[in-house]
Assembly symmetry: C2
Homo-oligomer: 131 residues x 2
DNA sequence: TTAACTGTATTAGTATGTTTAGTACAGTTT
DNA sequence: AAACTGTACTAAACATACTAATACAGTTAA
């Protein structure tokens, strides 16, 4: 399903959270699609089921998936409600990131290109309402 | 000089690296300005000098400061040369971050505002050359 | 030269976090 | 009932972060 760097100083469960987020965001894993079970995925990746569970728990806490005992774990639909804190955090982080990018040498042109590139693949959301 | 959250799960030295980066990027610490010595800063922050040193070592590795034995640590001038890898990394990370921001509910309008906001405080760099 | 500063290195001990292993229990599906 | 699902718990191994103490080398000013 994907590759992990077991030798990295970055915890496996964090790598897992990141990879799965990307799959969900990029719509590779679609809404309500079932994720592999903790045991199955653990076997596929040759790591401990507890590590998978930790990643799933984190993803559930962040609202990316939901788990049902006895059934499985599924991709949840992202709702912009109740996310004010998360949104503010994302904004702050982006500001930092952009300032740092400029500092190390990216041009304003670079940034605009990146923005256009990412927006290109997204449905136009600029009329969306958020309470 | 700044505040640290000793109770955070985030390592102290990482918080230090982050704070100092921000000070350098925002020109609070200016080029060739001397940073507090590892011992002085350690005393001010009530933490171990080794932890400061670890942060300084990391900042030096990332090119933000340079240290001279017997003299001290100083803010270095950021050069866009030799940073191709770092720049590519920053671009990739920004793309990820933006995609995630859109996913959790930020609008394209939000992103454009953020970009304008950060660019506003920066010298216009769009004519800069990078080999 | 000496004293007091600077960065740097090393060793050891403690604490915390990550990962594995094993076991167990509850709910679902066939 | 059997085989799957998520979830919880304990114990041990291991890695990392941090502190503490000490030491050494280079710089600077008295």
């Amino acid at each position: 399903m994907f590759e992990l760097d077991l030798r990295s100083r970055r915890p496996i469960y964090e790598q897992l959270v990141d990879k799965l987020k990307q799959l969900i965001i990029n719509d590779v894993l679609k809404q309500d699609e079932q994720l592999p079970s903790v045991r199955t995925l653990a076997q596929q990746l040759s790591i401990n089921p507890n590590t998978i569970q930790k990643a799933y728990r984190e993803l559930e806490a962040q609202g990316y998936i939901y788990s049902v005992k006895g059934k499985g774990s599924f991709v949840s639909q992202m709702v912009a409600e109740n996310n004010e804190h998360q949104i503010k955090q994302a904004k702050d982080q982006l500001k930092k990131q952009i300032a740092e990018a400029l500092f190390i040498g990216l041009t304003v042109q670079d940034l605009k290109e990146i923005l256009e590139e990412v927006i290109g693949g997204e449905p136009n959301d600029s009329n969306a309402e958020r309470k």
